[in-house]
């Protein structure tokens, strides 16, 4: 088994686990806030479609949350089983941060989730809203702690080494270490974008399948506007994070840019095949001096190349390519979300569209105009037929959004690979090398469990994506009570989304 030693297997296993894990919290962090937004809109306006949107997305939230929890439990064990040297050396820092995450966030979100999902009949509307808020807050708090720890591993601060162990000198410096504010912002925005495109994509999918209720429209707009608002912020945040990396982890940045030799007026490389052996790029396509410009804000600024970090720099090709995938995905997101927003802009609302000419009247009069729009539409009575079709998105644009449903995941994984592979060979920059922290568990055992985990993760990922689309196709099915056998009719009559508003209205009146 040369090459596939225990160290490499442990790395692959851990990488597989965190890759799988991060997909789900990324969604729950922002989807929690989106749910709170739906809920607050409903409470404020009393419009039922906001609650319908809540009811639909809370199902996907629950499913995503469950996947995040179970993969997170696996991770909490793998910290110890795969990297025993990690806790031995920096346990005094990692320990409290992890403990605070469990204590302040995990219990809060897990407990309140039950109330949020199942407790709406049993608690007041206000308590239910607060439960939603606490779940959203809990997920974000959890991200805060784990990103503080992760950032500390990239840019350690606020500690001293005594007898080979890290001891804290300042907790504030540990938590707010140099890369933390950038990483946290970058990650929160990534989460928002992932959810923006998820919500927009699934809503576009439902719209294309003639599910044209006000609920779908509201979700579609929420998703598109969220993405369109966040993507420019993300580009700025990403740029600032890059400058932070240049300052604190120049080797990672050199790998991202594919710059082998320290040079003034470094070019921005658009395409290349980095050759680790020859220490050069092949088939390079580059724009001269551009990298120096955006990294040092001077055309002749000096950028450190990989030659400065001989033997201490990360593998170049994966970092180089993951970075380009992330940036490319970001550009695509900018294009799609802004184009969609442009189409939805208020001054374009009246234009007759392809959609309008193609579609018959929507089912069940679901497309009732909202009060504000009805008012503006009244004078232009002859256009009322087109007015019914509020969104001006063309079918190909909706299809584009559907294709982008999980685009956030691709950018996210690529981005994490840049930052995590980019930190190699260090586990904690300058303090602990990954190889020093590795486990002594025999390779065959790791191989066995790795195979099991991989099968499990692939199966679950396929199930997750297909069930999300299935729920979008079969909203009726999804609305049934927990346990949707045909005999459950009584409970269904008792309570379902259709008669739910009466209760709500009554409660408020």
């Amino acid at each position: 088994m040369d090459g596939l030693d225990a160290f490499l297997l442990a790395r692959i296993q851990f990488a597989a686990n965190i890759t799988f894990h991060i997909l789900f919290p990324t969604i729950t962090i922002s989807l929690g806030w989106v749910l709170l937004f739906f809920k607050l809109r409903f409470v404020k306006t009393g419009q039922q479609h906001w609650m319908d949107a809540y009811q639909f997305w809370v199902k996907i939230f629950a499913l995503t949350f469950a996947l995040g929890v179970v993969s997170g439990i696996t991770m909490s064990f793998q910290f110890g089983t795969n990297w025993p040297g990690y806790m031995e050396k920096v346990g005094n820092i990692a320990g409290p941060l992890l403990a605070y995450e469990v204590l302040t966030a995990f219990f809060l979100e897990a407990t309140m989730l039950g109330v949020m999902l199942f407790g709406r009949e049993r608690v007041s509307e206000r308590t239910h809203t607060i439960a939603t808020l606490l779940v959203a807050g809990g997920t974000t708090l959890s991200a805060f702690w784990i990103l503080a720890l992760n950032s500390w591993m990239h840019t350690p601060a606020g500690f001293e080494m005594i007898n080979g162990q890290a001891h804290v000198t300042s907790w504030l410096e540990v938590i707010f270490n140099p890369s933390f504010p950038y990483r946290f912002t970058h990650m929160m925005l990534a989460s928002g974008l992932t959810v923006g495109f998820l919500v927009a994509g699934i809503s576009a999918y439902r719209w294309l399948r003639d599910d044209r209720s006000a609920e779908v429209m509201a979700s579609l707009k929420t998703g598109i506007y969220l993405a369109a608002m966040l993507i420019p912020l993300q580009i700025i945040a990403g740029d600032l994070h890059g400058l932070n990396t240049l300052e604190h982890q120049p080797a990672k940045l050199a790998a991202m840019e594919g710059i082998w030799k320290t040079q003034k007026g470094a070019p921005a490389i658009l395409f290349a095949l980095p050759d680790e052996k020859a220490k050069e790029n092949r088939y390079e396509i580059a724009i001269p001096k551009l990298a120096s410009l955006y990294l040092t804000h001077s055309l002749d600024g000096e950028v450190k190349g990989l030659d400065q970090f001989e033997g201490e720099h990360p593998p170049v090709a994966p970092v180089f390519w993951a970075f380009r995938i992330m940036v490319g995905m970001g550009m695509l997101m900018l294009l799609v979300s802004w184009a969609s927003t442009w189409q939805l802009a208020p001054w374009r609302k009246r234009a007759p569209t392809l959609v309008a000419s193609r579609t018959s009247l929507p089912p069940e009069g679901a497309l009732r105009l909202r009060p504000g729009e009805a008012g503006s539409a009244a004078p232009a009575g002859e256009e009322s037929a087109t007015e019914l079709v509020v969104p001006e998105l063309k079918r190909w644009q909706l299809r584009m959004l559907v294709a982008m449903t999980f685009s956030g995941w691709i950018a996210l994984i690529a981005g994490w690979y840049v930052t995590e592979i980019g930190r190699q060979p260090w586990l904690v920059t300058g303090v602990l090398k990954t190889v020093e922290a590795a486990s002594t568990v025999p390779a065959p055992r790791i191989a066995l469990t790795l195979a099991l985990y991989l099968v499990l993760y692939v199966g679950l990922l396929v199930s997750y994506v297909s069930v999300v689309f299935y729920l979008a196709r079969h909203k009726k099915h999804a609305d049934k009570p927990f346990g949707d056998d045909p005999t459950a009719g009584d409970t269904e009559k008792e309570l379902n989304v259709v008669n739910y508003p009466e209760k709500e209205g009554g409660a408020r009146a």
């Binding site: 009811q55 809370v58 199902k59 499913l63 469950a66 996947l67 929890v69 179970v70 997170g72 439990i73 696996t74 909490s76 064990f77 110890g80 089983t81 025993p84 806790m87 031995e88 346990g91 005094n92 990692a94 320990g95 409290p96 992890l98 403990a99 605070y100 469990v102 204590l103 995990f106 219990f107 809060l108 897990a110 407990t111 309140m112 989730l113 039950g114 109330v115 999902l117 199942f118 407790g119 608690v123 001891h167 486990s439 568990v441 055992r445 099991l452 985990y453 499990l456 679950l460 199930s463 299935y470 049934k480 009570p481 927990f482 346990g483 949707d484 056998d485 005999t487 459950a488 309570l495």
Partner: protein, 343 residues
């Protein structure tokens, strides 16, 4: 046994004891709380389709938070006793992996079974059941390993495997007790029958652990079978026996009462089973203290720096009461018989 301890007036002396207490309580909370929902999962195999939904409904709002106690327990082991964490989880590598796969399967099956297409529901039900069994059995196997000091001879592994099944039975007893409280009608009577079936295996398991623990290590043997300890300790096994008798009698009488719609005593099987778990836990804690790995690593050897422990302790002291507070709140919200879950 405290002769192994350093100066207890120092932070390095008393803090590990406090954390051992917190970790022990987290593990105990986990075993009881997730125990009942794992047990319900194991029992689900024998339930009718309608009952399956009711059974899931009885644990749906709680399981997430229940599992978090495991993360807390392991988290303390990882963060406060990092040296022991490496040794213990290294030795338990495979059972831990199987437990994680089991927990993953059942955790996601919870949601998938009602959200995936109806034709796939039986498959997710099966995965839910298999995951529950796998997770429970692996936990029992780990308990066995802990008692036998992580030895890996054939007999020891057989013993661990038997303890694994005993824990599955014990969880079934807990789960059946929970269902007696949370369900009505036919399912409730069925739960009484399930509880009866699980009772014997649970008793055998508790007896096996009680007998095996002192035999593994002369130190533990001396702790139990020396005068006057033995007199002071006799109440533990005696009370356990009494509780088992209480459960047995209650399970004999309950069907008649429940059939008449009389809920009096519906809490007895669950409550008494929790009592058995508490006593077994106490006995085990007494046996093992102050070892994390029997005769090899004490809590003081494994503990991290006092400064780091202090930081965690402050957080735990502030936050744990809040956690307990809103856990109680959540259980109150879902008090009473469980109805179909919908959201």
């Amino acid at each position: 046994m405290l002769d192994l301890a350093p100066d207890l007036t120092q932070a390095a002396g008393w803090m590990p004891i406090v954390f051992l207490g917190v970790m022990g309580l987290a593990m105990l909370a986990y075993v009881i709380l997730d125990g009942y929902d794992l047990g319900v999962g194991v029992l689900m195999r024998r339930a009718s389709e309608d009952d399956k939904d009711t059974m899931i409904a009885s644990i749906g709002p709680f399981w997430d938070a229940n599992e978090t106690w495991l993360v807390l327990g392991v988290g303390i082991l990882l963060t406060v006793f990092p040296l022991a964490h490496g040794v213990i989880l290294g030795a338990l590598y495979l059972p831990v992996a199987f437990m994680l796969i089991g927990l993953t399967l059942r955790g996601v099956a919870f949601d998938f079974r009602v959200k995936a297409r109806a034709a796939h529901k039986p498959l997710w039900n099966r995965l839910f059941y298999s995951g529950s069994v796998l997770a429970s059995w692996s936990q029992g196997y780990m308990l066995g390993s802990l008692i036998t000091g992580f030895a890996s001879t054939g007999w020891v592994m057989l013993f661990n495997a038997v303890i694994g099944f005993a824990l599955v039975a014990a969880y079934c007893l807990l789960g059946a007790g929970w269902l007696i409280i949370k369900s009505e009608g036919e399912l409730q009577l069925q739960a009484v029958r399930w509880a009866r079936g699980s009772l014997w295996f649970t008793m055998a398991g508790v007896a096996a652990i009680s007998l095996a623990t002192p035999l593994v290590s002369p130190i533990i043997f001396a702790k139990w079978f020396s005068f006057p300890n033995i007199v002071l300790l006799i109440p533990i096994p005696a009370a356990t026996a009494v509780l088992f008798a209480v459960i047995y009698r209650s399970l004999q009488r309950l069907p008649v009462r429940l059939a008449q719609g009389n809920e009096y005593g519906a809490w007895v099987p669950f409550g008494a089973t929790v009592g058995v778990f508490l006593l077994a836990f106490y006995g085990l804690a007494y046996s093992l203290f102050p070892w994390l790995v029997i005769d090899r690593i004490t809590i003081w050897q494994a503990a991290t720096a006092p400064a780091a422990m202090g930081v965690i302790l402050v957080g735990a002291a502030v936050v744990l009461p809040m956690i307990i507070g809103y856990t109680v709140f959540a259980y109150r919200v879902f008090w009473g018989k469980s109805s179909a879950l919908k959201y």
